[in-house]
């Protein structure tokens, strides 16, 4: 990348550039299609070539997410919370690198954006062992039964990450999906995918099991329909779909196996605002268990 740290330095040493790849099942493969696309800065300068994900990549990512769901959803809430907190720690350690990347991607106050992203991981980490208490409850049924409703994760969730906020928007939509035990296939911000791939490096070193988060870069209009129509995807967050006609098509395709769909919100969303629980609950199922009481 043409920043000071990566260009030819005064000593004449040529910097080593990073290849930006996909993140599937805990590994960093190139697109099986062999395709890539040029990513430029907000000012129009070339930054890197990102992998242009294909249908096959999307299907591989779904398979990895499904494979990871059993263990991740069965992990203790304490364990999931620790791992999300670890993500915040890793992100904090690479704060300067993320400020550089966010600055090139979207400009603005990159430092406050990265800080907010770190703090959001901490916020969601704390939710792991509280959402059940806040969103579940005992029910006083009229009979001799112990009746308990508890939230459980929906399954594999496809996420089209917000376009305008490639790091903070991604964290604000991804963390609430995985903290409750879902696994995710993410389509990164199409024109600004680099912070997402670097975030995948953070996830890969945070004890997050491979496959819990899978990240694709490429064209939303090409890849999102494969996720929307995939019969092994259980939920779909359309946060980053900016074309209303495409959003409607994706929602209609999602109906084939009755995916839980979160429609695109108002744009721009203020990702710095208090998120509430509204991004966790759409991908939670309520299970109610009846136990008879008797001696």
């Amino acid at each position: 990348m043409p920043t000071e740290s990566t260009s030819v330095s005064g000593s004449g040493r040529l910097a080593v550039r990073k290849t930006y790849k996909l993140f599937i099942g805990g590994a960093f493969p190139r697109s099986e299609s062999g395709r890539s696309y040029a990513v430029t800065s907000s000012g129009g300068d070339f930054l890197a070539n990102a992998a242009l994900a294909s249908r096959k990549d999307a299907r591989d990512a779904v398979r990895a997410a499904r494979g990871a769901f059993g263990k991740w959803s069965a992990a203790t809430a304490y364990n999931r919370g620790q791992i999300l907190y670890r993500v915040a720690e890793m992100l904090e350690g690479r704060r300067a690198q993320f400020i550089d990347e966010v600055s090139l991607s979207e400009g603005g106050d990159a430092a406050s954006t990265v800080d907010a992203a770190i703090d959001l991981w901490v916020w969601y980490a704390g939710w792991s062992d509280k959402i059940t208490q806040v969103y579940g409850n005992a029910n006083p049924v009229a009979g001799p039964f112990f009746n308990l409703s508890s939230p459980e994760p929906t399954g594999v969730v496809g996420l089209v990450a917000p376009q305008e906020s490639p790091l903070l928007g991604l964290v604000a939509t991804l963390a609430p999906i995985i903290v409750t035990g879902n696994t995710a296939v993410v389509l990164a911000a199409e024109d600004r995918p680099l912070p997402a791939i670097t975030l995948a490096e953070v996830l890969a070193t945070s004890d997050l099991p491979g496959g819990v988060v899978n990240l694709l870069t490429g064209r939303v209009a090409e890849t999102a329909p494969w996720l929307a129509s995939h019969m092994d995807v259980n939920g779909l967050d359309l946060a980053g779909v900016t074309d209303p006609a495409l959003a409607a098509d994706l929602e209609a395709a999602a109906a084939d196996n009755l995916k839980r769909v979160v429609r695109p919100g108002a744009t721009p969303v203020d990702w710095h605002a208090d998120p509430g629980v509204g991004r966790m609950t759409p991908f939670l199922e309520t299970k109610t268990v009846w136990h008879p009481k008797g001696v």
Binding site: N137, S149, A255, L258, G278, K287
Partner: protein, 477 residues
């Protein structure tokens, strides 16, 4: 041996069924403007009960406009405590007219009077009573400090629990401050029309509740109507998918309660007699016309023979016949079309190689009837193990280990309910954790309560009805 009983029929004289019904719009019964009329029959004897209006496009327009006007001018402005009192009033009138409602429900639906009297109608009153209490306590529902109603709810309900499904839809919607247009099922419109009278008796403001009768076309007009902010549907997964597609890209919020193929899992340490009662209740309650019916019996191999012997003995005691007879256990199939579907899938069960068994059972000559039936030797690939039959037909499969039971139980696109029979508490809790189903009954089955959320995982739909969770479907927050 079968016990002999003298007939103990409930008198139908308590209900005054009118020869013809209009649509209930803006607080009064009106003739359909462009709709036709259709007949509703008693499925136990095929006699026509009444003529009912079929709402067309302009009827649905009028109903939605009435609901909108009531929402804007009255209902959303009414303090929660006043809405609550209307709902309490409705609950009380339902209790006062309980016997009448139960008899009417059994006549139009075919379900045994014992069930409509002891299950459906008491639950209906309880549901209104429960949500009445929420109407002035919404900020405490855990949905944020300022939950707001959505507007006009378009609601479409099935024929298996006509009045109970109406209560599940209308009570939370009104408590949250919405107004409703509800379409009852084509074959069971009468209890909803009696409910409309109850709204009149309660002096509910006109337009808060509107009832449009009709078939699937009327339902489609309602859920696709631009003036509807919220769609709630209970019915088949097939229609649920179509509705989900039709609301795609709109502002409408949607909840769906769809089909099921519940596993009822019996472990080798289960109390056999108790489990048999639960299995019978799970699949023969309401003629098996239950989306959460325990239609797949998974029994541990070591007790399969003993359990099946006991189940067959118990099934031989079931009394099939007149829904109005207080001794009747299994009533009439709701319609000729449903009877045909049950027959057809049962024949497929036989042709795919499963063994069919029914107790000796004399069925009435007129009406729609199907004897309680079990299939043994069923494999997971058989259609009767995969498809919802929605009738008194049980598919029996076996398993050896708890892991195999869980795998088979979850091997379905549905995820509405499940049952577990075991004396071991830790096993029940562990298995319940691993079942992908919205309601799990341990050592019981088909229990419902207004405080207890009901709804599915996967292709059994989304959203919950009942309990605090049931409010979420009708509030913006």
């Amino acid at each position: 041996m079968a016990f002999e009983y003298a007939p103990a029929p409930e008198s139908p004289a308590i209900v005054n069924i009118r020869p013809s019904y209009g649509l209930f719009i803006n607080g009064e019964f009106v003739d359909p403007k462009d709709g036709e009329r259709f007949k509703t029959v008693n499925p136990a004897n095929e006699e026509v009960l009444a003529e009912v209006a079929s709402a067309g496009p302009s009827d649905v327009d009028t109903a939605v406009a009435a609901a909108r006007a009531a929402y804007d001018t009255v209902w959303r402005r009414l303090p929660g405590r006043e809405r609550a009192k209307y709902l309490f009033r409705i609950a009380r009138i339902i209790q006062e007219r309980a016997r009448e409602l139960a008899v009417l429900e059994s006549i139009d639906n075919g379900k045994p009077i014992r069930e409509s009297r002891d299950v459906d109608v008491p639950l209906v009153a309880a549901h209104f009573f429960y949500y009445a209490g929420w109407a002035d306590k919404l900020p405490y529902a855990g949905l944020g400090p300022d939950p707001r109603p959505l507007g006009v709810a378009g609601q479409v309900i099935p024929w298996n629990f006509p009045l109970l499904m109406l209560a599940w839809k209308i009570a939370p919607a009104l408590a949250a401050g919405n107004t409703v247009v509800l379409k009852p099922a084509e074959t069971t419109p009468l209890s909803a029309l009696l409910f409309a009278e109850i709204c009149q008796q309660a002096d509910l403001p006109p337009g808060v509740v509107n009832i449009v009768t009709g078939a699937g076309d009327t339902g489609r007009l309602l859920v696709e109507h631009d003036g509807v902010d919220k769609v709630a549907f209970t019915g088949s997964t097939e229609v649920g998918r179509l509705i989900a597609k039709s609301v795609a890209g709109t502002r409408k919020r949607l909840t769906l309660e769809l089909g099921g193929k519940a596993a009822n899992i019996v472990f080798d340490d289960a109390p056999i007699d108790q489990a048999v009662e639960g299995i019978v209740n799970g699949i023969f309650f309401n003629q098996g016309h239950v989306c959460c019916a325990g239609s797949r019996l998974l029994v541990q191999e070591s007790v399969a023979e003993e359990l099946l012997d006991a189940l067959k003995r118990r099934m031989a005691q079931l009394r099939v016949g007149d829904p109005l007879d207080k001794n009747t256990d299994v009533g009439a199939i709701n319609s000729a079309a449903q009877l045909e579907k049950i027959r057809s899938l049962s024949e497929i069960g036989e042709s795919e190689g499963a063994q069919r068994w029914s107790p000796p059972c004399e069925l009435p000559e007129r009406g729609f009837w199907f004897a309680p039936t079990i299939f043994t030797g069923v494999s997971q690939a058989h259609r009767i193990a995969r498809e919802e039959i929605f009738g008194p037909v049980l598919s029996v499969l076996t398993f050896r280990t708890p892991a195999e039971a869980v795998e088979k139980a979850n091997n379905t696109p549905y995820g509405l309910s499940a049952g577990i029979w075991s004396e071991k508490g830790s096993r029940i809790l562990a298995v319940a954790d691993r079942l992908r189903a919205g309601v799990v009954w341990a050592n019981t089955f088909n229990k419902f309560d207004p405080t207890s959320p009901f709804g599915g995982y996967k292709e059994s739909g989304y959203g919950r009805e009942g309990g605090r969770h049931g409010l979420e479907a009708y509030l913006a927050h």
